[in-house]
Subunit: 267 residues, 2 copies
């Protein structure tokens, strides 16, 4: 048993979609969440900068005695996970591996698509890790850079979003993938329009459920489950009005007044 | 005479559209430009964070002995200009005031529209400053949050952009403004589509030309013009491939290999 909190971080508030699922599957666990809203988004930045920012977030959580770290951001999980593992004395879980395992279980025709930020797609992490498990699977990955601002602006049902989605996903449709990984924590908010564009036969796989399941397994195996009344702490590096609104939408519960703003010591 | 460089900063590389015009109007002036590409965009952040980041950029340029400062960013000019003036021993020029003067000269029916980031529009700086000069002018201001990522993605001619522009600008059309301020350094890249949506009779006013003209006046008045062969230095806080490409597009000249990456000391 270990009643210390789980540490979760993201470049912003997208990771709250994963956190919501962790709270659901592990209701006895305390959580400290930090989103780097002063510097979001990470998806367009270089590997060097993403790694430095991610280490700063890691240090913030390690100082608060978390018993494990969840990197609830596909970009950081794709680009900087190994670097975070190097500096962390506690287990580190990204969102890529468990999502990939679910996608491999799901595909029947062995054609998987991946969509994500420019950083995630350029890293080729999904392609490499799928091929490590099964080299026969065809993987097509495409960046969808406007999906993050669209989700944050709440334009999921706008006709412009449909047009953009059709453009981004055209290639994946042609390749007849049967499974599509939503490789960004913001994308589940666009799942309706993505499903409509891809057609009913394509299974969408996102990171929230498989990551929460993997986390449960790790805590069980390492005997780190908690038996105390849980506490939740939410930190952000900037808290303009708009972040408060969007955070509540992503987490599925009102978070107003619960987001504490802090300044992150820089490396 | 003063052969020290002009210091120009922006949250990212949008300020290069203003810099391009300054180079054109003041070809003998040396320039040091810095864009905070590791933390762009600023337009969605709080006043507190924008002010801190802007002061860090100001300090970077002041240490390099600039003879004046140009804040080539509408968000910073709207939100943090007074704070920058407080810490700067050299003249500080934002992009708001000269743009407003041009817009007031341009309007005939005394109805001016302003579009910009959420930060710029929420600050109400344009509205206030126009009314300080002429309280009889009607001002309508609207945030267009997706225009920045659209310009950076090069989607100016995409059908989705037209749909989004129609949505954003609908209210301004109804109010029959005859002059529209493009209150963000990225927006001139979208001027064709904005003009098409607003109609030919509406004059678009952007910050590049009036800011360069004001700068010339200030340098003349304060006898700060240079008579040396100019030197250009461009700094960014992050330089992924994509920044290099977009920077050249914004500046109108190839900048590959000319952007130096630095780490900004934090306050």
């Amino acid at each position: 048993m270990n009643n210390n909190p789980i540490g979760i971080f993201d470049s912003g508030i997208g990771g709250l979609t994963v956190t919501k699922e962790i709270v659901k599957q592990l209701p006895d666990e305390s959580i400290i969440y930090i989103g780097d809203t002063a510097r979001v988004p990470y998806g367009t930045r270089s590997k060097e900068i993403i790694t430095r920012f991610a280490k700063e977030l890691t240090n913030f959580l390690l100082k608060r005695n978390v018993k494990c770290l969840v990197v609830a951001c596909n970009t950081v999980s794709s680009v900087a996970l190994e670097e975070i593992k190097k500096i962390s004395p506690v287990p580190v879980l990204g969102v890529v591996e468990s999502t990939i395992q679910l996608a491999i279980k799901t595909t029947k025709n062995r054609k998987i698509g991946v969509i994500g930020t420019v950083g995630t797609i350029n890293s080729k992490t999904y392609d490499k890790k799928i091929h490590e498990i099964n080299p026969k699977i065809e993987v097509d990955s495409i960046p969808c850079p406007l999906f993050v601002p669209i989700a944050e602006e709440g334009l999921e049902t706008h006709q412009a979003t449909k047009l953009l989605a059709e453009g981004y996903l055209k290639g994946l449709k042609k390749r007849q993938i049967d499974t599509l990984i939503l490789g960004c924590t913001h994308y589940p908010l666009l799942s309706k329009i993505i499903q409509a564009v891809m057609g009913r036969k394509v299974s969408l796989v996102d990171s929230a459920k498989p990551t929460a399941q993997s986390l449960r397994k790790i805590l069980e195996e390492k005997r780190l489950l908690s038996n105390k009344k849980p506490r939740y702490e939410f930190y952000v590096t900037d808290a303009p009005e708009r972040v408060l609104q969007v955070a509540s939408r992503f987490f599925g519960k009102i978070l107003n007044g619960k987001l504490q703003q802090i300044t992150l010591p820089t490396l």
